[in-house]
């Protein structure tokens, strides 16, 4: 066989494997329970739309979605803002403990969140921060902060110092240099932070499970597990729910694929 044929065979097989679970989700969502039990992999025909109305009634997808969106946006903003200030100081100012701070912060990237789970839970209970957006936004922002600081510090260091000096002689103060020159020039790094941290928070289950137990604050990820245990035996309805829950990200991916892939890979390609 020719090399190009082998290549196509390998890629085609991989594509089938990559797509199958999505196809399973999609096709099952349009089957009746009876159709599914008869043949779990057959093509869904005739199409049945009933699962979706069951799923919408049985779950609170809109509310879960709203909660996840608030937490994701909030955490990304807080994490990026705190990291930008810190990274600016680390990259561009001289102060005692600068290198230690950067090294320690970078090292925190390897600490598993579950290690902090119990003490944080007890602390937040005492501070009345459990079951609040603010509390969980703080946790997510903190957990993503080491990566944000690492990313932005390296990026800020790569900005030509003449641009900053030029702004200073043009009369800008330190903070307006950050705001008007450094941050606009860091767009690629900021995209990376939004994608990587946003995806991380959006997908997070453990902390959401523990810190947001009340029904009206559940995130999409927690909601999805609740939904599944409710409809456990009705696979088509469960899949309809999973499909609904995947729609936001699939849309983001469809329209922002470029940003997505570039954002995820930007940090690593240089190294």
């Amino acid at each position: 066989m020719k090399a190009s044929t082998l290549r196509q065979v390998a890629l085609f097989a991989a594509a089938i494997v990559a797509l199958y679970p999505v196809w399973f989700m999609l096709s099952t969502a349009f089957k009746t329970q009876h159709q599914y039990l008869q043949n779990p992999y057959a093509f869904p025909w005739p199409l049945s739309l009933g699962n979706f109305s069951d799923a919408v009634h049985g779950g609170s997808f809109l509310r879960w979605f709203k909660n996840s969106a608030i937490l994701t946006i909030g955490a990304v903003i807080v994490s990026t803002a705190a990291a930008a200030l810190a990274a600016y100081a680390i990259a561009r100012m001289r102060f005692l403990g600068r290198n230690v701070l950067f090294a320690l912060s970078t090292a925190l990237m390897v600490v598993p969140p579950v290690v902090m789970l119990l003490p944080l839970f007890i602390l937040f209970t005492n501070l009345n921060l459990v079951s609040t957006y603010q509390g969980v936004v703080l946790i997510y922002a903190g957990l993503t902060l080491p990566f944000s600081i690492y990313m932005l510090t390296n990026f800020f260091r790569s900005i030509p110092h003449e641009l900053i000096e030029s702004a200073l002689t043009d009369g800008a103060r330190n903070f307006s240099v950050l705001w008007r020159i450094v941050l606009p020039l860091s767009a690629p790094a900021l995209v990376t932070l939004v994608v990587v941290n946003g995806l991380w928070v959006w997908n997070e289950l453990l902390i959401a499970l523990v810190f947001l137990p009340s029904d009206n604050l559940k995130t999409l990820m927690v909601g999805v597990t609740v939904f599944q245990s409710r409809y456990n035996l009705n696979v088509p309805v469960t899949m309809a729910g999973m499909l609904l829950a995947s729609v936001p990200m699939l849309l983001v991916y469809l329209f922002g694929q470029r940003f997505f892939i570039r954002g995820l890979t930007a940090g690593a390609v240089k190294g």
């Binding site: 200073l168 002689t169 043009d170 009369g171 606009p184």
Partner: protein, 388 residues
């Protein structure tokens, strides 16, 4: 507008390196002052100390009446043009030029008027809404100038602003910067390591070496009366020829040839019988005619330049290998130093002369070079200072 005065200014970096030492200089109000010297001579450091981008470790710097040592860059009322222009890539040309005004809270209408005016003066009218990356090198250079001029600062600082342009554009921008400076009349400090730029643009030129000021003068005096070997070999293009000679009575012996020294300073007599460095500018070395004083050597190559030829010859005379000369050679080309050293061992020196017309002789053939003996330069070999 304001004068800039350095008083005993010095710069020592935290690691102990000294970049500038006891720098004394006054740049007059409205003057175009050029700082020139090889890499690492401290010229950029001196400039950045005026800008406030580099702390002043010793002495003081005044802009007008104000001591600026402790002022932030934004408080000094200076504008700077950087080597790579440092245009803000995310802003349009208009926003780039207006940035300094915006930072100084100039109202919008006034800002727009000022930018339009500058755009007209610099011929940027059409380009105001473009981004820097859509501009050519010359246009970027002009925007960088505009950004500096628009604020009408007390002092203009320019850090090798032409070094990123190609040769032709550089000549054109040289004239343009001079023209703009005269129109605006702003006090300007211009750093370059190209001595041609220094000579053609500066009202006065300050030559620096290893953090020390060597000489400040107008270009003509710098060319005619260099105070030491370093200035002599650094200023002038092509470079001054430097040979080691022995002083005789009313003459100087260079290898097998003797040149009379009619216009020599009286102090040269004190060096009778001793070796000195003798400088001959290529401009004063021509094809020998009649029985005029001459030096004999071998032709290496003659570059025809149209009206004249640049003659590369080799003389059997020891070259001057002082540290100053080596430093200038190294700055141009590191390999040149090795070449110079091996030439010295064989007691031969490369020599440049300007011959009228074309030289019809082959490489290796003997050649006689006539020297204008009233234009000889003499330097003490020990101290490097000019003998005068």
């Amino acid at each position: 507008m304001a004068a800039v005065r350095f008083t005993g200014a010095g710069k020592v970096y935290p690691d102990g390196t000294r970049a500038l030492e006891r720098f004394e200089l006054e740049v007059a109000d409205g003057e175009f002052m050029v700082f020139v010297g090889p890499s690492g001579c401290g010229k950029t450091t001196a400039l950045r100390m005026v800008a406030g981008l580099e702390e002043i470790s010793e002495g003081e710097i005044r802009i007008g009446e104000r001591v600026v040592n402790d002022l932030e860059p934004q408080e000094r009322d200076v504008a700077m043009v950087f080597q790579n222009y440092a245009l803000y890539p995310h802003m349009s040309v208009r926003d780039n030029i207006a940035f300094g005004l915006k930072m100084r809270k100039v109202p919008r209408g006034e800002r727009d008027r000022a930018v339009d005016e500058i755009g007209r003066v610099l011929g940027l009218g059409e380009l105001l809404d473009r981004k820097p990356r859509q501009l050519s090198g010359g246009q970027r250079q002009r925007v960088a100038m505009g950004r500096a001029i628009v604020r009408n600062p007390a002092v203009f600082l320019m850090d090798e602003p032409l070094s990123n342009l190609d040769a032709r554009l550089r000549v054109q921008m040289r004239a343009e910067i001079s023209r703009i400076q005269h129109e605006v009349g702003a006090t300007t400090i211009y750093v370059t390591h190209d001595q041609v730029e220094a000579m053609t643009m500066g009202d006065r030129v300050a030559v620096l070496r290893k953090g020390r000021l060597q000489q400040v003068d107008d270009p003509q005096r710098l060319f005619d009366e260099p105070v030491n070997l370093f200035v002599a070999s650094f200023i002038g293009s092509p470079e001054m020829n430097l040979l080691e000679g022995t002083v005789e009575d009313g003459a100087v012996r260079l290898g097998g040839d003797v040149l009379p020294t009619p216009g020599a300073p009286a102090r040269l007599a004190e060096y009778a019988g001793r070796r000195v460095a003798v400088g001959i500018r290529p401009e004063y070395a021509h094809a020998a005619d009649g029985d005029a004083p001459r030096l004999r050597g071998r032709l290496l190559v003659a570059e025809p330049l149209g009206a004249e030829s640049l003659v590369h010859a080799e003389l059997d005379v020891p070259p001057v290998l002082s540290e100053e000369v080596l430093e200038v050679a190294r700055d141009a080309d590191a390999a040149a130093v090795t070449e110079l050293r091996s030439a010295a061992e064989e007691r031969r020196t490369p020599f440049l002369a300007r011959f009228a017309g074309t030289v019809r002789r082959g490489s290796g053939e003997p050649i006689e070079i006539g020297v204008d003996v009233s234009r000889l330069y003499f330097f003490d070999l020990e101290s490097g200072s000019a003998i005068r």
